[in-house]
């Protein structure tokens, strides 16, 4: 498997650390109810198809990445910087 890091270019998957679903980016407010935190931390779909998850370019530029990929075909359609995403200033 290869991921194209927006900064470093195409790299073998062993340079990356896998974390989990993109949901981890949507942190509830401090006062949000427990159920919101459950959803944030634990409740996940297991889609056959398109999925967006978080990878860390550990042996490269140390950037966290949002990887859009298909769990059925293994096609990777987009790799974006977490720090550069909509709403997050850089």
């Amino acid at each position: 498997m290869r991921l194209t890091c927006p900064l470093c270019g195409p790299r073998d998957r062993r340079e990356f650390y896998y974390y989990g679903a993109e949901d981890y980016l949507n942190r509830p407010d401090a006062g949000a109810p427990g159920s919101a935190w459950d959803d944030y931390l634990h409740n996940r779909d297991n889609p056959a198809g398109m999925t967006r998850d978080l990878w860390y370019h550990e042996q490269g530029c140390a950037q966290w990445l949002i990887v859009t990929r298909n769990t059925v075909t293994h096609a990777v359609t987009a790799v974006d910087l977490v720090a550069g995403r909509q709403g997050a200033a850089t």
């Binding site: 293994h74 096609a75 720090a83 550069g84 200033a89």
Partner: protein, 971 residues
Amino acid sequence: MRIDGKGIIDRTRQARFRFDGRDYQGFKGDTLASALLANGVRLVGRSFKYHRPRGILTAGSEEPNALVEVIGKTNRTPNVRATVQEVFDGLETRSQNRMGSLKHDLLAVNDLFAPFLSAGFYYKTFMWPRAFWEKLYEPAIRRAAGLGSLSGRHDEGAYEKAWAHADLLVIGAGPAGLMAALVAARAGADVVLADENPVLGGRLIAEGGTLGGEPAAVWVAGVEAELRSLPNVRILTRTTVTGAYDDGTYGALERVGLHKPARPDLPRECFWRIVAPRAILAAGALERPIAFPMNDRPGIMMAGAVRSYLNRFGVAAGKRVTIFASTDSARATARDLVAAGVQVAAIIDPRPDASVVEEVPVHLGAEVIDTRGRHGLRSITVRKGAESFEIETDCLAMSGGWNPTLHLTSHMNVRPRWSEDLAAFVPVEGAVPGLFAAGAANGTMSTHGALTAGKAAAEAALSALGRVAGTVAVPAAEDAPYGHRAIWSVEGRGRAWLDFANDVTTKDIRQAAKESYASVEHMKRYTTQGMAPDQGKNSNVGALAVLADATGRGIPETGTTTFRPPYTPVSIAAMGAGGRGAGFAPQRFLTSDQASRDRGAPMIETGLWYRPGYFPKRGEATWKEACDREVAMVRQAVGVTDVSTLGKIDIQGKDAGRFLDFVYTNTFSTLPVGRVRYGLMLREDGMVLDDGTSARLGETHYLMTTTTAAAGLVMRHLDFVQQAFCADWDLRFISVTESWAQFAVAGPKARALLDSLLEMPIGDLPFMACAAARVGGVEARLFRISFSGEEGFEIAVPTRYGEALFRDLLARAETMGGGPYGMEALNVLRIEKGFITHAEIHGRITAFDIGMEKMVSAKKDCIGKAAAQRPGLWGPEREQLVGLKATGPISAGAHLFRPGFAVERENDQGYVTSVCWSPTLGAWLGQAFLKDGRARHGETIRLVDHLRDIDMACEVCDPVFFDPEGGRMRA
């Protein structure tokens, strides 16, 4: 028998080798198989289950029978294909899977029991009586099972791993592959051409013939010379592409030194990872056997293999050959043999309408129904209509058709498609993105067809790569239609083998179907067909056809199993190349490493770091004596230890304090400049991630310390928090772990020691404070912190001065009754003080569990705060950190029980994480997590460790055993 004037081996270079203790002679370019055949050796192995005598079936890596052990000075490699292993001077080999000699294998008795050893035998037989399993069945099966044997010693051979990147990977250097490589290379594309043979050419070498009016070998040599002259081409011979993986990544195994006597540093094998956006699978086709009765005797071979031995190696596989084939290609084998002067007794062709025009007798509509010859073929029985007759022959060349070598195309779980025309499975385009099959691998069977397909595949690849192909002419070549008729099995009285390696016969498949194992996946597992080292390369399609027939379905409806990587076996040693000894993981060495070793300190691995365990002194018999002395030394005088392994993260910016407030449970934005604070870091799920001290070096400048174990983890975590939640904050951080050498100096005389070398005395630097300092003209940092409970400091200098400072500190300490202390003493000192490490904060521990819930600030949000407050993560049901005190040895990993209760899981009250003998307090001390532990101080608890045979009553107490007020640290 060698045929003069045939073959491409080098007859001027002899190679003496041994097989089963006998000396033989071959030539450079021979495989073990060709050399044995040339020497008239037909019996080379025993089959797996029935221990039937077996010979050489094929001339390639698909060989199921001729598996041998290669014995080197330091290596012994089982299951080596005699058809792949090249001979060299001094090669030592041995047959395997026998008890006694190869000719008189004692386990051949299994063959007599064959009627009982049919499909599912193990499942049915070894069920009862139950008591027999461990004592009788398993040992007996284990002794008899498995092929070959290992030496039991480490493999000391050299192995290599490598990466290659190319625009185009061409798999196979036969006509299609060579043509594809040539077209792509001339257009300037980066090409990797891999072939598992030592020579290029594939079938062009095995079949001979002409290309463009010249001998095929001449054309091959011309193409090879051109390819080798181009800088954009890399040719990997003796290299099998073994797997196709995601995004254009392929695995390949190169046999680097296996055809040479072993030499130091010469890799035996190299495991390649080849990355290419496009690949052309030009791996040719594999000929399939016919399952006729008693078709497994030595001397019964594939027709293509017989041709290959003749044309490539100049070896006649027999003196009087017969052909049993339903393909036109086998006729070419016959003609080549006749032309070379080898007698061909007869051609038996099951097709009623095939040509009879040959120089030898042809029997159309005929089949072989029996064979004779105990250790090698002597004769065959042919049935033609109602009559049957016997033919004397020592070599039967068979051919039931050709299967495209499409294995790589199903490595991503796409099943191949059945072609009625070819009576074979063919690749599905797009099965592996970027991989395109061409030539025989794609069902194009003629030489000219393969050349044309190879060219077209390269042109398509070039176009996809944005390159323009030049004009390359396809040479004139054999272009006959693929003449064949499928024949799978022949009815008769004897057993008819499908899977030679695993001894699976047509009867086994039919029996599986009868017992309802009618799905191909079930049949495979029930009969073990396709599960041998050849992974069904020779038998899969035949077995499917028999299964389809037995279940009254067609082959497409019956379906097929998919092939998985690797195409041929890959040694673990090659995949793990470089991973033994020092190559297992990076080794991180402290600047004090040599100084510690000079003092005889045994080094302990902590993560990747090597740290001194203790510093033995003359007269100390055990590590414990040294450890006790070092603990007392720190408590009474002064000790020095290297703490550079702790992670150090430099954090700067206007928002640095705000950031620390967010990642730590407690507040750092209010920390005065020049002060240090202990911080607790949680994961977002509320569990403790790490702890450590952070110092405020300036208004916008902090230095965070992490534990040794979690340094990388914390960096990753901080990167996530910053990039995900505060990318726009005025803040940057970077690890400075490697830039500073840092030493803890602890004990009542620590201040005096440091004052003797610092340019300015420590003065009134308070506990938990830091300051810039200078030592020997070098800028240093001084921290007043303590992990020992004594008055302690840590002094940091740029790494390049680390060794010098460490040696100087030790020399000074020793004049004061102090010296270095190691990890063992460090651990005792911290347990006496109730300080925790990752033995305690092991990932399932909350701030509440370690009594630090008050450190979670109520005034601000922080990572992990919300989750930490959820039910279940706090309260009396939680196991809480306590101290344990005992009069005898206790152990970490032990579990705790109430006295009087049975030692059962239901009664488990908690577990022990750290223990030590405390020379300071004269007792065994422990840290443990105990249910509602903080309310149970003073209780007696039973500590049980079944592994170490410990059963000890302990007193539950506060985890801080020594100087609970902390007066010594603050002195």
